[in-house]
Assembly symmetry: C2
DNA sequence: AATAAATTATGAAACGTTACATGAAATTAT
DNA sequence: ATAATTTCATGTAACGTTTCATAATTTATT
């Protein structure tokens, strides 16, 4: 005799309802069966509190309804936002997510890809740095912010247009002498197009500009040193700064204020990403906002779409400007 | 004949290595077999690039190595941090995470619990609000920040001690007239002990204090109105404020500055949580820091430990004070 | 009313793994 | 050298689904 506390299976439901196994399967999957059969099965399901075993389903279908998300971390606000919207887009389609926090480490990225394939995920979405990541042919992959060859679609903001927009905005706000600041690696990824876009915008609007790559890290010294170099008689030689991320903008603004320069009165600062310190609060700084919900939706769409032949190699999504208190408006 | 591109199974490995199916299983699971057998199997695995099908494993073992995390969202910094550390603690133990963003909605919480049980998760960690969440007897559950009866362990910061610490710190910093501000629901959860702890601290240190519950939302009006009520001849009647979260502290500080009150010169503000706008930057405000990594580790430990009998109903972890520019030090 | 055609429920087989009873081989004891 | 014991590979059954060929039933046709 069957134990009271064992988990009911389709077989149990079939016996309870007095129908065949296949009939229960059909009811569970919404395939039409005779009215009386359906009702009897539905009653039995309720009575036994039956729930399908998704692992048996996964085994049979060799489809797991799981995708892996490779992301440097889930704490940094931009990544946290991506995780949130990708998770949402997946749950909407009854997919679940295997969250892989890679710490931007190439070896970890590769490990997680291998692990994900072992778990038979239906696909991988990755914001990765490993230039020669090995991915099995039959594992669908969508990249974020980095092109990985023509076979793998890449989704990103329109970073070039974003850079251009920043330059134009600074010009509109009365700036004449601007700077572009960047930290981090010179990896050939999409966000690096912000620089080219900004340069292009400066040229077309007749702004004089300087491009500067700063060392990364939390040390403000580097920033202070750079800024001090451009202060003459208490005045900064720039009246506008475009930072490659809001994070950098935040640090630069802190440094500027420490040096008794007023933001936005003396110098206006625009960042990139669209970060708020908390949900529903103001932006950290005036910024070029990335369309994170749309990026997430696009990634999931591209990953799960069947017609493999027509996948575009690069999808750029439109960015917008948002005021955040560090520009005149 | 088997298709070239079909995914290899244990059977294929067994045929390739010229051994029995069970032998391959043993090798894969690290169960000792004869040296020569092991080597042959390992070679075959490499040659065929075999990977175990975790869904077949899951079906057989009725253990899925997946746990569900129910959390209001994954964008708000405190939650993002929890997600990060819980994910880490799980991956360390070869478990994967099903991330369920509930939007603090009671119905969604229940839906996700049901869904998680359908997916046969090995357990659930939940930061939930639904007072009568239905959880199956045989699904291990660990709650964060809210006691759900003696059968379900709850992990939280030592919120009472945190409130006390805030009061003591304000007293140490020279405050004599302080306020406690809170928004949100009066649900009987752990964070609400911050108030009692603060009150206790005020009494023991002889601080005169006021407790105030504000309406939630992004509307600053409520805050402005409350603060304006306590301004006489341009001076605020408080010299110290303890806010129930950093989020509230952030909004209050913005409002104070808008009203031309200086922080920390005129009034010192302490928040709760330990939020930074970006990784590696300063705290948003002076704050009582929650030990998120330890909370995460404790949740996972309690969830996965075998000796069910000895699960404590409540685990409180120690908090610390951190300077964040909105107090004298 | 009897037969042909269309509809629909049935139940066995298969998915890839693990566990266990079986039997073969190797070791030790007599 | 043979018997008793231990060791260890083998192969089958089972996990809970879905699919599909088959059987049973209903409906349409003569």
């Amino acid at each position: 005799m069957k134990s009271e506390h064992s988990i009911p299976t389709m077989k149990d439901v079939a016996k309870e309802a007095g129908v065949a196994l296949g009939t229960v399967s059909k009811v569970v999957n919404g395939i039409p069966v005779g009215e009386s059969y359906r009702l009897r099965v539905e009653d039995a399901i309720k009575k036994l509190n039956y729930q399908v075993n998704s692992y048996a389903q996964g085994l049979k279908a060799s489809k797991t309804y799981t995708i892996a998300l490779l992301i440097p971390n889930t704490k940094e606000p931009f990544f946290a936002s991506l995780v949130y919207y990708i998770n949402l887009a997946l749950l909407k389609r009854k997919y679940r997510m295997l969250l892989c926090s890679t710490d931007s480490d190439c070896d970890q990225e590769q490990e997680y890809v291998t692990m994900a394939q072992q778990n038979k995920v239906d696909g991988i979405i990755g914001l990765t740095y490993n230039p020669n990541l090995q991915i099995e042919e039959n594992t669908p992959f969508v990249a974020i912010d980095r092109s990985m060859g023509t076979k793998i679609p890449c989704v990103a903001s329109d970073n070039f247009a974003g850079g251009q927009l920043a330059a134009e905005k600074l010009a509109d706000l009365g700036c004449t002498n601007v700077a572009f600041l960047r930290t981090g690696s010179s990896l050939d990824n999409e966000p690096n197009k912000r620089k080219a876009g900004f340069e292009n915008g400066c040229l077309s609007r007749g702004l004089s500009y300087e491009m500067k790559i700063l060392n990364d890290g939390d040390a403000y010294e580097e920033f202070e040193y750079f800024l001090a170099e451009h202060i003459h008689y208490g005045r900064l030689s720039f009246d506008g700064i475009f930072c490659v991320t809001d994070r950098l903008a935040y640090l630069i603004i802190k440094t500027l204020r420490k040096l008794n320069l007023r933001v936005p009165e003396d110098v206006q600062v625009i960042g990139f990403d669209g970060i708020r310190p908390f949900q529903g609060t103001d932006y950290v700084c005036s910024t070029i906002v990335q369309p994170v919900p749309e990026i997430a939706e696009m990634c999931v769409n591209l990953l799960l779409q069947e017609n493999i032949s027509s996948k575009p190699p690069l999808v750029c999504l439109p960015v917008t400007y948002a005021y955040g208190g560090t520009t005149r408006e």
